[in-house]
């Protein structure tokens, strides 16, 4: 199993480098694209296999006597890893068409693969240090994806992304220093290391800082500034994984800190939990508002990410089983949905070159499949049954009622619902104007601009996923239950 674990972690990176260096793949774009997809397919397989190897533990590398890179496969890790590799695969397929005429595509692929490695590593991380290590690597490796377009604003956005993330990571590092001081260890233990009911006030403060730090990646309120700048400038497949998956890396980190290091029991009811919840709620609302006011298509999606990821964080902040399940479910749902939306947006931009929402009248006529996918995805994000979004949000709402924190149990659900309405308000117009351009729409110029299969298939799959996660949510919920039971 250890071999498989190592393989699961490093396979994408190795494959990426191999692809980059193999001379025969230098020229042949098509072949290269296929190889990448295949490689990612294998990776998906590997991660699925790993699900049967739960509890595998190993030390990857000793950096210093006190600094060990140790791995530990558990439920949460498996869920995240499978999700991530799946998303990766689909976006890579999409990318083959989208990046078709890009001459730096080769370089892009390498980093694309390496980032996945870092992510998988983070999923299987067995200790805070390990997590931090892969987190940091992932940040750096994903920068080239952001600046890929090579435009000045792309570079500027890249630097902004870098600085925000590094700052967040530094807060995380600070946390590690103090955790190893307060808790004596930074190895993950389900339910948290600190079992004593009363935690030193320093520990609470540090925990809060760490949450904010890793919240950066998840675009949580005080540190969300980079996200709307960075995601849109990246090429569509990149932005799809950036906001669909990479934001979840932040979520994962927060999750690990709260439930596997400090312990929910320690934090429950403290100012940390309240503050954290407040921040998430602010973010949820603010994100939706900004998305609503935004006219650039991709940027609007970026803002929506800001708000949606904070749903997840809110779920984590509640620290009750139901909310926890909701959170994990929403991780899955949101990844799928946001991937779908970004791919759609990418397809639209790639085929029509329209980047403003207002220009999208009649898009449904030009690109029916894309628009349908978009519609389904948006419904999912709003939370209409029977999509995954509905299940997750339902769980979140119920969970938030159970927290028993005066005020939050009322405010929480309300804000969630309000933001859901806003979500409808900023996503559906595309569909509506797209299918019903109105009487003055000139049908004569109408041509089918639908993209090739490479573009449509992933979208369709994702759209299907949106629905399926809703219908067959139960098995997933059961899995999550076990995890939740172990840590709450």
């Amino acid at each position: 199993m250890n071999i498989l674990l190592i393989l699961a972690i490093f396979w994408p990176a190795l494959a990426g480098l191999a692809i980059f260096l193999t001379p025969s793949l230098k020229e042949n774009k098509k072949l290269r694209g296929q190889t990448v997809s295949v490689a990612l397919g294998i990776e998906l397989l590997l991660t699925i296999i790993m699900c049967f190897g739960k509890g595998t533990q190993m030390v990857l590398l000793n950096m210093t006597p006190t600094l060990r890179i140790e791995m530990n496969v558990d439920v949460i890790g498996c869920i995240f890893s499978v999700l991530m590799s799946a998303m990766w695969l689909l976006s890579s397929v999409f990318a083959r068409e989208y990046m078709g005429h890009d001459d730096n595509e080769r370089l892009y692929q390498v980093f694309y693969m390496c980032v996945l490695s870092a992510l998988i590593g983070q999923c299987y991380a067995g200790s805070m240090v390990t997590l931090y290590v892969f987190y940091e690597l992932m940040t750096l490796l994903s920068v080239p994806m952001v600046v890929h377009e090579r435009t000045p604003q792309a570079v500027a956005a890249g630097i902004k992304y870098l600085v925000y993330s590094i700052f967040g990571a530094m807060l995380g590092l600070l946390g590690i220093f103090f955790f190893s001081n307060y808790l004596g260890t930074v190895t993950f233990v389900p339910g948290g290391v600190e079992t004593a009911a009363s935690a030193p006030s320093g520990l609470l403060l540090i925990t809060f800082l760490v949450i904010i730090g890793f919240g950066t990646k998840a675009g949580m309120f005080p540190m969300h500034g980079w996200l709307p700048t960075a995601h849109p400038v990246a090429p569509a497949p990149a932005s799809a994984v950036l906001s669909g998956v990479i934001t979840k890396a932040g979520v994962l980190a927060v999750l690990r800190v709260i439930y596997y290091l400090v312990g929910a029991d320690v934090l429950r009811g403290t100012w940390v939990q309240k503050g954290f919840m407040t921040l998430t709620l602010i973010t949820v609302f603010m994100g939706s508002m900004l998305a609503y006011r935004e006219t650039l298509l991709k940027k609007r999606l970026a803002y929506s990410t800001v708000s949606q990821v904070s749903y997840v964080l809110f779920g984590l902040a509640c620290m009750v089983p139901a909310a926890f399940e909701g959170a994990i479910l929403h991780v899955v749902a949101h990844s799928v949905i946001k991937d779908a939306l970004f791919l759609c947006a990418g397809a639209i931009i790639h085929q029509t070159g329209k980047i403003y929402v207002r220009d999208l009248r009649g898009i449904g006529k030009e690109m029916p499949i894309t628009t349908w996918c978009w519609t389904i995805a948006s419904l999912g994000l709003i939370g209409i049954p029977p999509t995954g979004g509905f299940v997750s949000k339902w769980q979140l709402a119920t969970g938030s009622l159970e927290t028993g924190l005066a005020g939050f149990d009322v405010v929480g659900p309300i804000i969630l619902i309000v933001s859901a309405l806003l979500t409808a308000a900023y996503l559906l117009p595309v569909t509506i104007n797209g299918f019903f351009p109105g009487s003055d729409y000139d049908y004569s110029t109408l041509t089918n601009k639908e993209g090739s299969k490479l573009m449509t298939v992933p979208m369709i799959l994702l759209a299907a996923g949106v629905v399926l996660t809703g219908i067959f949510a139960q098995p997933l919920i059961n899995v999550i239950m076990t995890a939740a039971a172990s840590i709450l």
Partner: protein
Amino acid sequence: MLSLAVFLPIVCGLAMFACRGMTHRARQVLTEGVTLVTSLLVLFCLMNKRGVAYTPLYLLPKLPISFCIDGVGSVFAAIVAFLWPLATLYGFEYMEHEGGENHFFALYTMTYGVTLGIATAANVLTLYLFYEFLTLCTLPLVMHGTSKASVRAGYTYMMYSFFGAALAFVGVMLIIGFGDGGAFVMGGVMSEAAAEHPLMVQIGYLCAFLGFGVKAAVFPFHVWLPEASVAPTPVTALLHAVAVVKSGVFAIIRVTYFSFGAQVMRGTTAQAIALLLASATIVYGSTMAVKEHHFKRRLAYSTVSNLSYILLAACLMTQSGLTAALAHMLFHALIKITLFFCAGAVMVKTERTQIEDLRGLAKVMPFTCATYTIGAISLMGTPLLPGFVSKWLIGSAAIETGTTLGMIGVAALLISAVLTAIYLMGPAMSMYFRPLEGMEPTAKCDPGMRMKLPFAVLAAAIVLCGLFSDPIITLLAKLSAGVM
């Protein structure tokens, strides 16, 4: 043997002054040869002659000049011995456009010996002696250009150094006076003196700290370092990133742990002041580096802040602190010299000195830019690379002390880490992701073999140090525990 290692380069350097009429080839062979031989000698001593003391002469009765390689000294000696041949090799190609090679390499070689002298000094007087010589040897190197700017830089350097020397002299004298003779003993020689007149001892420590701190570019006295970056790059790279500045740091480590003694100084006001200064310098240096637009000056400022990382760790006055200090000393040496080499290569090959001019250089000097990037990401503390390891060690050592000052130190550390990312990654990104200006993309201006070789070696060394840091750190921990 050891004294030979110290004096061989000095003598050869002096000899080179004498014979001016050498051909390029002969000089280069001679210089490289001497350097390599010395490095081998050092290696030999490291292997076989640990803890054996040699006393070539007495300054006065009871005041010997003596050498001895002990644990901490061997680290510094090893660093120097590893880097010097590389830098010399690099220097050959670089200096061809600067001229005045004869006395340049003569002094360069002499400096090697002097630095070794510092590394292997067995008592504080010897240390001080070579410390002063270092100033004198490097002064002409700084002014090598003999332009107005370089003369001014030289003057600044000289004044600051001697200010430092004057302060250090006071400290050294107090050490010799109170700690009979001031031989280096792990744990210090001042314990009873500290009991008798604590104030004097603290003043002495501060004097020594600030005095040697001038070379280590501690905040109020850092000015000379960015100024001195007008010097030819081999000088800036080796001397102002490794030899000279590290000597300052090393001297502080020496007096802290081997003369005054960590036990004695821990918790005193002197330590507090030292720690605060170090923390201030860390942040200040990074901030200035961010503001700076001249490539080499930016790197110089980054040196300022990184040196204070080491000082911060050293002034924690715990064993883990010392370990961290040594680790960062080693890693920063490797990384910073690499960065400077890249800057130098860019300067020689394209006459570009400003950050803005680096745009798109990756197209024409891929090798150099790649090396630079490796250096940059490892200095900003990317996991799996050395910078992270040392930062980790420093941070945990600081927390371990559990003092407020430790916390402040950690805060400074992390703030500066962010700034580091800004000022190092900015150039790296513009190298790769900005269009090249004023140059044919086809023009290949990567430097020649004699420059590339050091690049390759250093880059490899950095990565290896990062991946296999465990044995290194364990060794350092042993050394800092006072094991030979």
